[in-house]
């Protein structure tokens, strides 16, 4: 299925399946396709997708039988699973994230606009015009790394990272955009905030977003922000 997949041994019970070494939507889509395929065909191996690679973690007890080394057994099973074309292709979900941009919700909007030589309204328009894809979750539970930011909005991280970024903050760091699910320290530029709760460990599906989802941002005003915030679980 893939032209050149490479395995790297990371640990006794972990292999990395590498597709490339860049942040690139095509590479990430290969990672997503392999993840979906392996989760269906090889559920005993845990898949952790990232931008251009896929972590495979396995139970050594399960793969210790036979003469082959456990890593070789897993590699053979993974190659076999990926070798056949996958008949099932799920269309990605589209998740709309309402965002109140600027003011105390996005305290860095003016600075981002100045850095991009745009006015704040244009920054909001460019940010809401784009189609994003969740490349991976990481950094903190439910934190989505989104691909698809308009290159005009690429701005450096802040020189002085904040100790406490409010939960729901929508931010830009370099060529990436993301959403802080909880109060966290962070150095990305904050342009807005969503009232949606991104991560709730007590829910059946703890993370609002999953790798592979498509994301759109929708600009909302302060009143709508508070209305929606009131409907979120405590």
């Amino acid at each position: 299925m893939q032209p050149a997949i490479q395995f790297e041994a990371l640990a006794e019970d972990a292999l990395l399946l590498r597709f490339g070494e860049r942040i690139d939507i095509e590479l990430n889509m290969q990672v997503q396709a392999a993840t979906a395929c392996l989760r269906r065909r090889l559920p005993q191996v845990e898949c952790v997708p990232a931008y251009a690679s896929l972590l495979l973690r396995f139970d050594l007890q399960h793969w210790s039988g036979g003469d082959e080394h456990p890593h070789q057994q897993v590699q053979m099973a993974v190659c076999a699973a990926l070798g056949e074309p996958d008949p099932v292709i799920n269309a990605p979900r589209v998740v709309v994230i309402p965002v109140c941009y600027g003011r105390e919700y996005g305290p860095d909007l003016a600075e981002v606009a100045a850095l991009c030589r745009l006015d704040p309204e244009t920054v909001i328009a460019r940010h809401t015009d784009a189609d994003y894809r969740v490349a991976m979750l990481g950094f903190a539970p439910g934190f989505p790394y989104l691909l698809g930011l308009n290159p005009q909005l690429s701005v450096p991280r802040r020189g002085d990272p904040r100790q406490r970024v409010p939960a729901g903050s929508v931010a830009i760091g370099g060529s990436q955009t993301g959403i802080y699910p909880e109060v966290l320290p962070g150095g990305w530029q904050l342009i807005g905030r969503t009232p949606l709760r991104l991560f709730d460990i007590t829910a059946n599906t703890p993370s609002l977003l999953a790798t592979g989802d498509r994301v759109r941002f929708l600009a909302i005003d302060e009143d709508r922000f508070h209305q929606l915030a009131a409907t979120q679980p405590a």
Binding site: A9, L10, E21, L55, M136, L137, F199, I201, T202
Partner: protein, 327 residues
């Protein structure tokens, strides 16, 4: 039946085997830093379902038991008193109702475990009762224990042959801590990491030959290693990918960092080594200021040692269950 925290100690938290299998959500495994010590503490009180224990760090808590309880202490050697009785470690102990267990300092090592028969009856989140202090998941939003915390104990049958007396009574047998606690602080087995060959030659030698010191900014997330600054032949720009406990990363500062149980599930620094899984509990027992040396190992050797350790542990768990059934 409850346990009340009278004094919290330096950093005490509820820990079990953690939350494996949720890294794709950004949730790490976390859980007990010294997993065999956690398993053996549970076994000694007859807990068989991976119950949570209290993990103590450097200085232990004081705990009041409302009712009689069966407890065991494992991990780093820690002083333990109930009244004038000194409690042995690695031994099943019966405590009468109203006992106050005072845990003190550790002669060496960093983490001790207190298991209570019945476990702690708190909600399980994604299959675990452990506190992920970094991601703030678990009891009381994943914070360390505080004075005044009340921890409910799960129900359990009495220990076979136990008395409901007013005496503090340790059983007449215990475990040899020697295989489970690394008193000699031996070099830790390290696999070459994906980017080891991109270290300069001096740094490649220093990683396996040099002596590092665990820095005081170490915690359950990472152990920072002072003593030598390591260099790459040329700077590497990597995109974020999965990170694992035991990975030794090299940030641009040149100070190696060993990721530990609460490490974020992704990272973007070069990976210069991977601590062998069999030696991760020993790394978890190093305290700030302790020496850390690495010896090179191969994947085959690491797997063989891990399998041997797991077999020894499984046999010991069986023996403990059998002895408890007879006591």
């Amino acid at each position: 039946m409850n346990v009340t925290v009278i004094k919290p100690g330096l950093l005490s938290s509820l820990q079990d085997g953690g939350r494996p299998g949720h890294a794709a959500l950004g949730v790490g495994r976390a859980g007990a830093m010294d997993l065999p010590a956690w398993q053996l503490a549970n076994a000694l009180v007859g807990n068989t379902a991976g119950e949570a224990t209290i993990e103590c760090t450097l200085a232990g808590p004081s705990l009041r038991f409302e009712q009689s309880a069966v407890i065991a202490l494992t991990g780093a050697p820690i002083t333990a008193h109930v009244g004038e009785h000194s409690l042995p470690m690695w031994t099943t102990c019966q405590l009468p109702a109203g006992s106050v267990l005072h845990l003190g300092g550790m002669a060496s090592g960093c983490r001790s475990y207190v298991a209570v028969r019945g476990g702690f009856d708190i909600p399980s989140l994604l299959g675990s009762r452990s506190s992920d202090l970094h991601a703030r998941i678990g009891f009381a939003q994943g914070r360390a224990l505080r004075a005044g915390d009340v921890l409910p104990i799960g129900s359990a049958t009495p220990l076979p042959g136990s008395s409901t007396g007013h005496e503090v009574r340790p059983l007449h047998w215990g475990l040899d801590p020697q295989p489970w606690f690394d008193f000699a602080r031996r070099p830790l087995a390290l696999l070459r990491g994906s980017h080891w060959s991109q270290l300069d030659e001096a740094s490649q030698q220093l990683l396996f030959g040099g002596s590092f010191t665990l820095s005081k900014d170490s915690n359950r997330t990472a152990g920072r290693l002072d003593g030598h600054t390591l260099k790459l032949q040329a700077p590497l720009e990597l995109v974020s990918e999965a990170a694992l406990p035991g990975t030794v990363q090299l940030p641009p500062s040149g100070q190696p960092i060993a990721l530990l149980t609460e490490a974020p599930v992704t990272g973007g620094y070069p990976r210069i080594g991977q601590v062998a899984a069999v030696d991760l509990p020993h790394l978890a027992q190093r305290r700030p200021g302790d020496t850390v040396c690495f010896g090179e190992t191969t994947l085959d050797e690491a797997l063989t040692r891990l399998a041997a350790r797991q077999l020894r542990l499984a046999r010991l768990l069986g023996t403990i269950a059998q002895r408890l059934g007879q006591s």
